[in-house]
């Protein structure tokens, strides 16, 4: 349970404050409502590249990290398909340093051609490290391009190719900055053992004079990804150490009931050691050496994923059958109360464990505010508790069959 108070600045900046009880630290989180879904298909990976660039200094604060370090702070950031998130933790009495730094770089970013060129090479090395220089590294590029035909979720956050990053121009950087990095498009959330009024007052002082700009409505929001209506399949033969199968289904956006059904369903299948896929397919039948089921969690139409690394001696066909078999079982014998309660309990525990430090709390506040329905912040557990076995069976019957799937298979050449 996260308590919070909310305050809106006249320039549109939303401010949320959680009054923590005991921590010596303050967490300051700034979320911009822009992600890889807002990129043009010719400049993919740009939102993430920009996240790097915004650490490159402004005219008044050329070295962003210096002032953070001087107050024993730590900062980092990440980019998703839907938003870009920056966070700083400092000892609580010094939280204003974080506000000052974030307000400063919302206006005065100073990117030179040299800085841009250097950051491009860093991001290309990140691309290499995480996606090219490892087995199965290209799987998300391939799978996303199979599942999505129109929606910008068809490329991963890192981008389609390093070439798009190489091609980014200073002009692109300026446009993006002006369009998305402004108070109307941002959410500031703070968790600290400080009175909310003190946090709001400081937010006014540092951000209040910034020009509003516009909120991003995600111009692509109107793009609805059409349903998959016949099986999509792709096989990659490569030098990977084991065969692997990944089955993806298109999901409903967060906030809709189908989203929570899928989340709970994947927990029945793979949420913990006692879950079905692990018990049946890894432990008992030994079809997979590792297997998983999860949702990718975008705020728009994300994916439900079933995946596993196949044990030597088991055929890909048998593995695929086994995964569908688990779905069919949930239709034939709807899940019992005990098992349903188990995954619901797990949600409750995970929510509690996820709220143990100031950083997670500040981050959650920002995220749920972005979703536009703060009642979900502490209310999702009730949604999970309201789901029934029949609903799950019905959902699987309607949505999770071969005709609605995209399947990516790796065959090992070993």
């Amino acid at each position: 349970m996260i308590n919070y108070k909310e305050h809106l600045l006249s320039n549109g900046l939303r401010v949320l404050a959680n009054e923590d009880e005991c921590s010596a630290m303050a967490a300051v989180n700034l979320l911009y409502q822009v992600g890889s879904r807002d990129e043009s298909s010719e400049r993919t990976g740009f939102a993430h590249l920009f996240e790097h660039l915004i650490f490159r200094g402004t005219k008044s604060v050329p070295d962003f990290d210096g002032p953070v370090q001087e107050v024993c702070g730590e900062n980092n950031a990440f980019t998703t398909a839907d938003y870009t998130n920056f966070y700083i933790t400092t000892p609580k009495d010094n939280f204003e340093t974080a506000l000052w730094l974030e307000a400063d770089r919302m206006m005065g970013l100073d990117i030179t051609p040299e800085k841009l060129s250097l950051e491009k090479s860093v991001v290309i090395e990140e691309f290499n490290q995480r996606f090219l220089n490892r087995p199965y590294g290209e799987q998300w590029h391939t799978l996303r391009s199979m599942v999505y035909t129109r929606h910008p979720y068809r490329w991963p956050v890192i981008g389609i190719t390093p070439d798009h990053i190489r091609d980014a121009s200073l002009e692109d950087v300026k446009d993006f900055y002006e369009r998305f990095y402004n108070p109307s498009n941002a959410i500031l959330s703070v968790s600290a053992a400080l009175p909310a009024e003190r946090i709001f007052e400081a937010a006014e002082r540092y951000f209040g004079s910034l020009p509003a700009g516009r909120a991003n409505t995600h111009s692509q929001e109107s793009i609805i990804e059409p349903a998959i209506t016949s099986p999509r399949r792709h096989t990659i033969e490569s030098n990977v150490p084991a065969d692997q199968i990944t089955i993806a289904f298109l999901m409903e956006p967060r906030g809709e009931r189908g989203y929570y059904l899928c989340d709970l369903l994947t927990d029945l299948l793979a949420g913990g050691e006692s879950a079905r896929i692990y018990q049946h397919l890894v432990r008992q039948r030994q079809i997979f050496s590792a297997a998983n089921a999860y949702i990718t969690g975008e705020s728009g139409q994300g994916m439900l994923i079933l995946t596993g690394q196949i044990t030597p001696g088991t055929s890909v066909e048998e593995a695929e059958e086994a995964l569908y078999g688990e779905l069919e079982l949930l239709v034939k014998e709807p899940v019992g109360d005990y098992e349903l309660r188990k995954v619901q309990n797990k949600f409750e525990a995970n929510i509690t464990f996820g709220e143990l430090n100031v950083m997670n709390k500040a981050m959650n506040l920002g995220y749920y505010s972005m979703l536009g329905d703060m009642s979900l912040l502490n209310g999702e557990i009730e949604l999970y508790r309201s789901i029934t076995a029949e609903e799950i069976a019905d959902y699987i019957r309607r949505n999770l069959n071969r005709n609605q799937s995209a399947t990516l298979i790796y065959r090992s050449k070993r």
Partner: protein
């Protein structure tokens, strides 16, 4: 906008534990933090991989404690923990194993019912062990196609020696030779009162303490585990090619000593300056100036009977040689010129900030306590550590760097192009 004034930062208060002993002498450390309604119990054993004589036996023991006990099947254990949303973790390093149970306060009883079985009565059932070994063998095979795994293994054996308990690696096939009998032997020798302690942290009452104490009291006495640590057989350079690699995984290490050595804390400070934060020397040089890498790091690693200084990065394949040259430039610089007072002040703040962040949340104090006890210290070690960091001088650091951070003592390993 004017920069806010900097408020003085008070050093974090290190929580102090209470210690009691179970009837057989096994120590139990408790740390109360009553705000969040969660409890964590960790059982710690002198049972790390360096104690094993049969490959993979130490990790298999700790990972299969929950695969079946005298009174519960593996499935029942998993089921029981998942039902109340409790979190179970079995962890192993080269010296220790740690088995942790974490639950909502209201579910600590059923969680400890299972903990008792897992810690005291594992049965290592034949079928489950065979299944575990087959799975792990396959997973290790998969891991070994990844540069970071290959790099870790090559570095370990190059720094310590191929047969050294801290550096040895074994073939995947060694999993085929593990038997329940071998596992039981290792369990009996290491999971006993002479080699154990436990830590409870979070929100709990005396009844939880009594229950954990009763589990500890039921451990057989045993005798303190020991093993032969032979002299190191480091090699200066090792390289393995990886087909199609676009990056090289580079590690550079110097074998040194454990945390008990007086130079250890100064070396931690030096490692932080070198590669322990975003503004560190390696990060600035290899990432920010040259763009060779996404990240470059340095650390001082503590082991029970040894320790080492290490620098690492995944670098663009075509810049491997230049990147290594820059690592050495930085090593030479830190061992020949005193750190500026300004830089040192930042490093101090990074370290204090890291400690503060560990103590944010109810369980960080447990981790710190475990580490201190493992090293034969109490939690005032952490205060001593911060005091040492606060007062250390550039001249002292330079002297330590001159003594230990020498190029000719380095082991360089490369996986990749």
């Amino acid at each position: 906008m004017k920069r806010p004034e900097i408020h003085p930062i008070s050093l974090p208060r290190v929580p102090h534990y209470e210690v009691t002993k179970a009837a057989n002498g096994t120590p139990l450390y408790t740390l109360h933090n009553s705000t969040q309604g969660v409890v964590r119990v960790s059982f710690v054993f002198r049972a790390g991989t360096s104690y094993q004589t049969v490959p993979f036996s130490a990790s298999t023991v700790v990972n299969t404690l929950s695969e079946g006990t005298q009174n519960l099947s593996g499935e029942q254990i998993a089921e029981g923990l998942d039902f109340v949303g409790s979190y179970y973790d079995a962890n192993i390093d080269r010296d220790w194993s740690v088995v942790t149970f974490c639950s909502l306060g209201k579910f600590i009883d059923p969680t400890l019912d299972i903990a008792e079985e897992v810690i005291l009565r594992p049965s290592f059932p034949e079928r489950e062990i065979a299944s575990y070994c087959a799975k792990r063998k396959e997973q290790l095979h998969i891991q070994r196609s990844k540069p970071e795994q290959l790099s870790r293994e090559l570095f370990g054996k190059s720094l310590f020696g191929e047969n050294h308990p801290y550096g040895i690696t074994s073939s995947e096939e060694a999993y085929d030779d593990l038997t329940p009998e071998l596992l039981r032997e290792f369990y009996q020798a290491h999971y006993n009162a002479a080699n154990a302690f436990a830590v409870i942290s979070g929100d709990f009452g005396p009844e939880v303490e009594e229950r954990v104490k009763a589990i500890l009291a039921a451990l057989p006495e045993g005798k303190e585990a020991s093993r032969e640590i032979p002299p190191l057989e480091s090699v200066p350079f090792a390289k393995e090619s990886l087909e199609g690699a676009v990056q090289s995984s580079v590690k550079i290490g110097i074998p040194l000593f454990s945390r008990t050595h007086p130079d250890f804390i100064p070396l931690q400070v030096l490692a932080t300056a070198m590669g322990g934060y975003f503004g560190s020397r390696l990060m600035q040089n290899l990432r920010e100036e040259h763009g060779y890498t996404y990240g470059a790091y340095a650390a001082m690693i503590n082991l029970d009977q040894s320790g080492y200084f290490v620098m690492s990065a995944e670098v663009a394949a075509e810049h491997t040689d230049e990147a290594i040259a820059e690592f050495f430039n930085e090593l030479e610089r830190i061992a020949s010129k005193p750190i500026g007072e300004e830089e040192l002040e930042i490093v101090r703040k990074i370290i204090v900030g890291d400690v503060m962040r560990i103590f944010d949340g109810p369980f960080g104090a447990a981790d710190v306590t475990i580490e201190n006890i493992q090293n034969g210290e109490r939690n005032n070690y952490t205060e001593h550590f911060m005091e040492r960091v606060r007062t250390i001088t550039p001249a002292e650091l330079l002297a330590v760097a001159e003594r230990h951070l020498q190029k000719n003592r380095c082991t360089v390993t490369i996986i990749g192009a």
